[in-house]
């Protein structure tokens, strides 16, 4: 790969067919750091938290009515059917919030003037993964990326971490919204509330330590997990975090539904002891203080450095590169632009061998960008990524999608790309010459054998499908 091809495909998310190649691709990547748009036009009309909460509330009501009519003594068939229709419509509404957000994400990536920073948005969004197989997350997943990742992309790691862990999507995904301190006011009174149990849930705390900050096997204990879970109690989502029925008259006025906030009566009182350090009782600020310390921990620096190196310098990056990134992280207190510059300056990231097998997301975006699309239909985009095995915001686990060739390069996965390529090519603008496009989007050109197969294609669309199937296009 030439430096121009590396800039466009390894750092960026694929060259557009209509882009003017930069005279100095490295300088252009540095310049992106001053041109990032946290909220580009493509995201202007994405649904907000209020819409998400309202859609979920409607679904809850419809589900309850449908259950009530199903269990009532004489359910009129028409009434039951009506309730099921209402429930179906409410479900669709929640699903549409997700689809619209996927469409916005894809279009932002197609239109972006800063493709390398756009890749970093996707990187962090996957690092702090939520998964829409949980229904409330379906409504909120896009907002996590748009509200907590993008605005913090060029800030400090600590700020991104705190924004993410206190975002409604994360609080809902990892069960924090329902977690209640045993000795909190609510925890103490829980027996008043009848049979339903309420108590501590350690899911978010564990994943913060294991996946978001220190990394697994970095020396924390089960006790650190439990203590962090206690420090986090109280953080919940208005109108969605349980206790809905009992809220009135017990809790002070709460924010609008869908907003994350600190509900003091749920918070485990007292000081906490985490990784050998004592955190005084400080309510909402207690978990933030812990997160701020976790964000500057040596193990966190090592963990983030390894993942970034793996994303840009191949599946098994050199320990020297990881050490340099980790050093930058610690020296700058997690200043993200400094980390990005370290990557740009690393010779390991400019290795001319194709270091990475593209993920389905990478492959799709680079294909769509190569034929100059600015907008794609949201539903089609979501469906494409689903079929290719990387449904947006649906990795199925808080670890996010894997970043290794072994995870993506598989027989069936390859067939699907060829099938998807055939389909996209049939809908591509007419008159594009795949051979010319190859020279543009894979600067430095393709191999002789690829070029021969492209030139012998039976039609323009088939040539495009072959370009996207080519070994050069599969990797970055």
């Amino acid at each position: 790969m030439t430096p121009a091809a590396i800039a466009a495909n390894r750092f960026g998310i694929g060259m557009r067919g209509d882009a003017t190649p930069a005279a100095d691709p490295v300088a252009a990547l540095h310049q992106e750091l001053s041109q990032f748009q946290p909220r580009p036009a493509a995201l202007a009309s994405v649904p907000n938290r209020k819409a998400a909460a309202e859609a979920l509330e409607q679904l809850r009501m419809a589900t309850r009515e449908s259950k009530q009519s199903a269990s009532s003594a004489a359910p009129g068939p028409a009434g039951a059917a009506g309730n099921d229709t209402a429930r179906g419509a409410a479900r669709h509404e929640v699903r549409d919030l997700y689809i619209d957000s996927v469409g916005a994400r894809v279009n932002a990536a197609l239109q972006t003037p800063t493709p390398w920073l756009e890749r970093l948005v996707h990187f962090w969004s996957n690092h702090f993964a939520v998964s829409v197989d949980k229904q409330p997350v379906l409504a909120f997943a896009g907002l996590l990326e748009f509200e907590a990742i993008r605005p913090q992309l060029l800030g400090r790691f600590a700020d991104m971490l705190i924004a993410v862990e206190h975002h409604p999507a994360m609080l809902l995904y990892l069960d924090q919204a329902q977690s209640i301190g045993q000795d909190s006011v609510v925890g103490q009174r829980r027996s008043d509330y009848g049979a339903k149990q309420h108590g501590l849930n350690e899911n978010l705390a564990r994943e913060i330590l294991e996946l978001h900050t220190l990394g697994v096997r970095s020396g924390y204990s089960q006790n650190d997990v439990t203590e962090l879970a206690r420090a986090l109690t109280g953080w919940t989502v208005a109108g969605l975090g349980g206790n809905r029925r009992r809220r009135r008259g017990f809790f002070a006025a709460e924010p609008a539904p869908g907003e994350a906030f600190f509900r003091e009566p749920q918070h485990e009182p007292g000081a906490r002891q985490i990784l050998g350090k004592r955190y005084a009782s400080s309510g909402a600020r207690q978990s933030k203080a812990v997160l701020a310390d976790l964000a500057r921990h040596r193990a966190t620096a090592q963990h983030i450095a390894t993942k970034l190196a793996q994303h840009f310098a191949g599946d098994s990056p050199s320990s020297e590169l990881v050490a340099r990134l980790s050093h930058t992280f610690l020296e700058t207190d997690g200043d993200l632009p400094q980390l990005y510059r370290t990557l740009l300056e690393a010779p390991e990231c400019w290795n001319s061998a194709a270091l990475k097998f593209k993920s389905p997301w990478d492959w799709s975006l680079s294909a769509l960008r190569s034929i100059n699309l600015d907008n794609v239909e949201a539903k089609a985009a979501a469906g494409l990524l689903l079929e290719l095995g990387q449904a947006v915001w649906k990795p199925g686990s808080p670890a996010g999608y894997d970043d290794l060739a072994a995870s993506w390069a598989a027989p069936d996965a390859l067939v699907r790309r060829v099938e998807a390529g055939q389909r996209i090519a049939q809908r591509a603008p007419r008159g594009l010459d795949a051979r010319a496009l190859a020279a543009q989007v894979l600067p430095g050109g393709v191999s002789e054998s690829t070029s021969k197969v492209l030139s012998q294609a039976e039609s323009g669309p088939q040539a495009l499908a072959l370009l996207w199937a080519s070994p050069e296009f599969m990797r970055r």
Binding site: Q182, H198, G199, P411, V418
Partner: protein, 383 residues
């Protein structure tokens, strides 16, 4: 498996694709009869709720709200969850065996590390790069070593030196033959892509017209049966199931997942017909869940769980467990079901008997870094 064998397999499949019939390879019947399916439950399935120790007096104290009503009484100690209808039926026909208080050597509580241990067969996470299921293939007669992942990509347990297929139903329109042959040309000088492409073509031929099918658990069971059914098709398969991480609202969610697993098994059994008699299916998860319910109607990450061995070749109709008990002082670290059986020994024992191989050899090959804490479990498979 040698490269030669794989090529032969592919050549047969491609030929079959051209003549629209299933591939036919002349194989010794004894080599090909045995089938093995590994179903992984990702997310830590709650063994205590699946195979409930209803005879343990501590159970109601720990998790009254999580004990499902009804279910099939298995013996004086255990009751199967009521969603396990087809599986309980197998139990009554002595074709299902459950192993309880069982775990891999992993003792921390990370899903991802634990799944790595479960799939690689290593003593600790990321110690081995290939999976035990792939290493099993190296022990089998070449004709019995055709393996497939019922997913678009290949799970860690099946990764390794032996080439394996992957396949899952897709809604994308199939690529035209002309395009496919040109893609093959594109990959002629790229060994990795060439290999993948060849495998894919062979597998597509095997799947036949099931492409584009439904993706519910029963359809997956039917597809797996088809993949395992014909002459010259796969003999080993791996299926991934998700949704077992029930931190919240466990009762309903777990019942749903178990119902799906039950439907998958029912369809697999129906689809395999007579071949079910020579089949074993292992169902296992990375670790269990806390003995007590948590504060949100669910359970948190634990230690030991339950595993299943299903199939006509299984010496079933029993639960094997050295039951540690659920009293507070018997729980691991005061919270989890204690592991009293090694999942590695269980797997090694079952596969050695199934394939009539030397148990010690199977154990060292599949779990090479582990001096197994106990000998491979024997008597799991019908003689």
């Amino acid at each position: 498996m040698s490269t030669h064998t794989r090529r032969q397999f592919i050549a047969g499949s491609l030929l079959a694709a051209a003549s629209t019939s299933m591939p036919r390879l002349l194989l010794a019947a004894a080599d090909t009869a045995r089938r093995f399916v590994f179903i992984i439950q990702r997310g830590a399935a709650d063994g205590l709720a699946t195979i409930m120790p209803t005879g343990d007096p501590e159970l109601p104290r720990l998790r009254a709200a999580l004990i499902a009503e009804g279910g099939t009484r298995l013996d004086s100690m255990f009751t199967a969850h009521p969603a396990l209808v087809a599986i309980s039926d197998l139990y009554q026909q002595r074709e299902a065996l459950f192993a309880h208080a069982i775990a891999t050597p992993y003792r921390d509580r990370s899903h991802f590390d634990a799944q790595n241990v479960l799939e690689t067969g290593g003593p600790k996470p990321y110690h081995l790069n290939d999976g035990w299921l792939n290493r099993l293939l190296t022990l089998l007669p070449k004709s019995a070593a055709q393996a497939i992942a019922l997913s678009a990509t290949i799970p860690v347990a099946l990764r390794g030196a032996v080439e394996v297929g992957s396949y899952a139903p897709s809604n994308l329109p199939e690529a035209r033959e002309d395009l496919k042959s040109r893609v093959a040309m594109l990959y002629e000088s790229d060994p990795m892509l060439h290999e993948l492409w060849q495998q894919a073509q062979a597998t597509q031929a095997m799947a036949g017209d099931s492409a584009g099918g439904k993706r519910d658990p029963a359809a997956l069971g039917t597809l797996a049966a088809r993949m395992l059914g014909g002459d010259g098709s796969a003999r080993v398969a791996m299926i991934e199931t998700l949704g077992w991480d029930t931190h919240f609202g466990q009762a309903g969610r777990l019942a749903n997942e178990l119902k799906g697993l039950d439907a998958l098994i029912g369809a697999l059994r129906a689809g395999l017909g007579d071949q079910w008699r020579q089949t074993i299916v292992l169902v296992a998860t990375e670790f269990g869940r806390t003995a007590a319910a948590n504060g949100t109607g669910g359970t948190d990450h634990g230690t030991a769980s339950a595993a299943m061995l299903l199939g006509g070749a299984v010496q079933g109709g029993r639960v094997i467990a050295d039951w540690p008990g659920l009293a507070a002082n018997r729980l691991y670290e005061g919270r989890d079901l204690r592991a009293t059986m090694s999942l590695d020994s269980f797997i090694a024992g079952a596969l050695a008997e199934h394939y009539q191989l030397d148990a010690a050899r199977v154990a060292t090959r599949l779990f090479p870094q582990v001096p197994l804490p106990s000998a491979p479990v024997s008597g799991l498979i019908r003689a």
